[in-house]
Chain length 356, copies 2
């Protein structure tokens, strides 16, 4: 078997704890499915600031660049929140996306049976919700020129939102392809009644749509989308949108499922390379206690197997193992009805590895 190189950047807070369980599961799949991984660890985020003076050390970037896929835990914490821009974990996150060319962020928002009561939405509204947000990740107002200047009315701040047609086309095509493998419905979200970048976006979607005649396309204004996600979440299949709107809508979509602590995500570039991470953050409040839920990170491995490596059998096995363990009533503290009975992070990881 070909050896696959995995860059592991565990990051801050609960990152190292949940990543350790994901690696445990990967090792178990090596035995069971004849896979072979080589892990290389890199510092990233707050811990990299502390130890190397920068959130994204050159060495970490190189580890990622020579890897086939990246497994990321989580970054950030109150310790670094008041740092200057260059010394903040988020800056590392934006840097790694840009440097690795990860222009597409896939965030599936699904409802876990065992968590459907955790949603603040009524169960009958949530019923059948299974959507995925495809967010453009290396363009728009995140990466445009930003500066301060003196104006007629005092100090002024400027952010620039730029999209070129090539950037829009590649993310939209990817979203169409994702939709083709799902329920064949694409909602393209923009603010074309106000923004020039949105008008370019919408034109591009309309130009490309004929190449995917099996996919039904709907244009939704971003404000309306924020409403429709609440009103009819199950009617969405794939949502594609630009960076800033995607940031907001993917979090809204994740939260409404009630399953945010269990959701995984993939950031992809050209080719099969990808970065995989849980949607939840570094949870500094419970870090180091061994109580974090590793499931979102373990499910990120399943995404990696499927999207980067095409190991669909092993991916299915991981997802079934998670389901089996949950169906048997095993819970970590965040999802337990009775916290006293809750499993530790490693116990949950063991159960899933053994259920494979």
């Amino acid at each position: 078997t070909e050896v696959k190189k995995i860059a592991v950047i565990a990051g801050d807070g609960i990152g190292p704890e949940v990543v350790a369980e994901a690696i445990k599961v990967m090792k178990r799949t090596e035995e069971l499915f004849g896979l072979k991984f080589e892990f290389e660890h890199g510092l990233f985020g707050g811990i990299a600031i502390d130890e190397k003076g920068t959130p994204l050390p050159q060495e970490t970037l190189e580890i990622c660049k020579r890897a086939d896929a990246v497994l990321l835990g989580a970054v950030g914490g109150p310790k670094w929140d008041n740092n200057s821009k260059e010394l903040r974990p988020e800056t590392g996150l934006l840097g790694i996306r840009k440097e690795l060319g990860l222009f597409s962020n896939l965030r599936p928002a699904v409802v876990f049976d065992c968590l459907k009561d955790a949603s603040t939405l009524k169960p009958e509204v949530l019923e059948g919700t299974d959507l995925i947000v495809v967010r453009e990740l290396t363009g728009g107002i995140y990466f445009g020129e930003k500066f301060r200047r003196e104006g007629a009315h005092g100090e002024e701040a400027v952010d620039t939102c730029v999209y070129n047609v090539t950037e829009v086309e590649r993310i939209v095509r990817q979203a169409f392809e994702v939709a083709q493998k799902r329920r064949k419905k694409l909602a393209s979200v923009d603010k074309a009644n106000v923004l020039e970048t949105s008008r370019l976006w919408r034109e591009t979607v309309n130009r490309i749509a004929p190449d995917y005649p099996d996919v039904e396309v709907e244009h939704v204004l971003v404000d309306n989308c924020a409403m429709q996600l609440l009103r009819r979440p199950s009617s969405f299949d794939v949502i594609v949108t630009e960076n800033m709107f995607g940031d907001i809508l993917s979090d809204e979509a994740a939260m409404l499922t009630g399953s945010i602590g269990m959701l995984s995500s993939a950031s992809l570039g050209e080719g099969s390379f990808g970065l995989y991470e849980p949607v939840h953050g570094s949870a500094p409040d419970i870090a180091g206690q061994g109580v974090a839920n590793p499931i979102a990170t373990i499910l990120s491995v399943a995404l990696m197997y499927r999207l980067t490596f095409g190991y669909s059998e092993a991916a299915d096995a991981i997802e079934s193992a998670v389901k089996q363990v949950l169906d048997a009533g095993h819970r970590t503290g965040d999802i337990a009805a009775d916290r006293a009975q809750a499993l530790s992070t490693t116990e949950m990881g063991d159960l899933i590895a053994n259920a494979l």
Copy 2:
């Protein structure tokens, strides 16, 4: 009594129908509270495009400028959706905001008892939700320079988001003042970990906060706010944010109350001048049938009385009359359990006018 001039721009779709009922209520308050209004009507939106070739005719603007307050119905409809930018109703909306200096949009999101089941949120989550979004309305990416250009990767579109410290300060001060009259909690929403305009925003909030020591301030990132609105809506009191974020979050907040068809809004400038309108749109599908719900527009009059004229007694009376009519079980089609029993627009207007 001093005569107050009201500019009435009924607009499109159900606009004229609901505005007529609001005027009926205003006339009734003239008799009961010794008020005196002079109404001047202007064309705006789609109908102005059809009749005058522009969504915001100069004459309408002048009617507004010489008025003490503006009552707006709704604008837009499929008929004008594919027009070029200058011939779209939204362009009129942006124009009127800018021309009248309406830099602040207040959108109360409250739950009506008779509609609490209409929300897709669980009643126990919604319980006690009563928040107001204060949205900056004449700056940011809506009004910054926008253009196309040829770039290295094909056609490029650019939008510019600009805020100066004066613009931020005036909206933030207004939000603090709103909070002081309410539960004294202000959530300032930005994306300070990414945007320069957000960093200026946050600095300004922090600089001004000491002037309002009785108000508790919290900074919330926009993606997190989209989540927290779902998770803990009742914990918010006043939310202040920039134009684009406010567009998205105010719609999300309105929808989660389940009462979107009943919500009113105010757009204010310096001084007491204001534009008042229902949050709902022009509803072309039911226009002209006499079945639209006039309550949001009638409640916009109550907002006008309170915020522009200081007629708090009459404002209270309108709100009580609406409550009384609803408590007695009267409903228009949109909020009726049994549509066959639903009242017409004018019947609802009459009942409220008579309940005053």
